[in-house]
Symmetry: C2
Subunit: 187 residues, 2 copies
DNA sequence: GTTTTATATTATACTTGTTGAATATTACTT
DNA sequence: AAGTAATATTCAACAAGTATAATATAAAAC
């Protein structure tokens, strides 16, 4: 249900259209939760059905008409309730779901050379992703400055720091794995 | 499609029933891919339909009848093809999907005390998970020894090492985050 | 002036994963 | 003798995510 709660969280900052939410989601939450445009619109409709949101149609002459969503009292309550029961998500956070690791598990069926190439490619992506986080930090401090809410920005920063730790761990793991495989080739 | 490929990988080691696959999956692959029993049976049926597997019914008098699945030539080809095109999964591995991080992102809506509690709970789970990996290492070296396939066991070990790196990273990140929040309280 | 970009939403089919229970047999435990 | 665990599979309903493309308007770029 996390997409719904992510949308609730964003709408709690202010009313938005599906289009704006899609962009806001992709600009902020997409680092740890990905969603397609069509899914966002579908969930918004479902959330309105649940009474968490209301919407008003806004007729525009210059642009296509739009629908602005606003969080309701029920929606705010739901957000608060969700935020105060993190147990399940903490447990889930201990679980990895990675097709890449499944490949590693079965990589013994391929050549050591092929496995090494895969690990080098992974290592490289970790580096790139880590570098790419710089932009996220800039965006956060900038937005935090504009909004003037340093406290909120601190949590955004902490979430972004996770990315750094995650990619750094991937990098170190890949180096260790590469060493183990090179050992094998050297023999 | 990774569940299918995980099952193919296991069946490549030898023919098995759905029941045995379910246990084998949960004993080995479940660290990085979780699947329910009912899903495994459903995928097996689909894979047979795709021609990746064949099955034979085995009538037992002592126990309920069973269906033994065997990988076909097509299935082995599919496994090989999959193993030799890791690009997509490497990219996916850069993506986090974590409801927990979404909570962190929105934690500014709750009290610092509540956020700290959440982070402490997360930290504790990381510790427990890291400790729990000891069993996985034992199982791998034991199984590797029995099967006598040191090369395969090396990849299993590498996959398990990822868990270690992942939980360690989570631990360090949590410590950093806790420090940042304590700073806030101290002021 | 025609293509591209941005705005804004909707539709539909499909695949994957979750939940939970029903069914049936034998062995082991108390 | 009754209850629980282990073996073994199936089913049905649902929830969530993926893939893709159709539709429509206006501004901006070339």
């Amino acid at each position: 249900m996390s997409l719904k709660h992510g949308l609730l969280g964003l709408l709690n900052y202010g009313s938005m259209t599906g289009y704006e939410l899609d962009k806001a989601f992709k600009a902020s939450l997409s680092f740890f939760w990905q969603a397609k445009t069509s899914q966002i619109y579908r969930e918004l409709a479902a959330m309105e059905g649940q009474g968490w949101l209301t919407s008003q149609r806004v007729i525009q002459s210059e642009k296509p008409n739009k629908r602005v969503y606003t969080i309701t009292k029920d929606g705010k309550e739901e957000l608060t309730t969700w935020l105060s029961s993190p147990e399940g998500d903490i447990k889930d956070a201990m679980g990895v779901r990675s097709a890449f690791l499944m490949r590693v598990f079965f990589a013994g069926e391929t050549s050591t050379k092929q496995s090494l190439e895969m690990l080098y490619a992974y290592r490289q992506k970790c580096l790139e992703s880590k570098t790419g986080l710089g932009g996220a930090y800039d965006a956060i401090s900038e937005y935090g400055g504009i909004v003037g809410d340093e406290r909120k920005a601190k949590y955004w920063q902490i979430a972004a720091l996770y990315g750094d730790a995650f990619f750094e761990a991937g990098l170190n793991w890949a180096d260790k794995a590469i060493d183990l495989l090179k050992e094998e080739m050297g023999e």
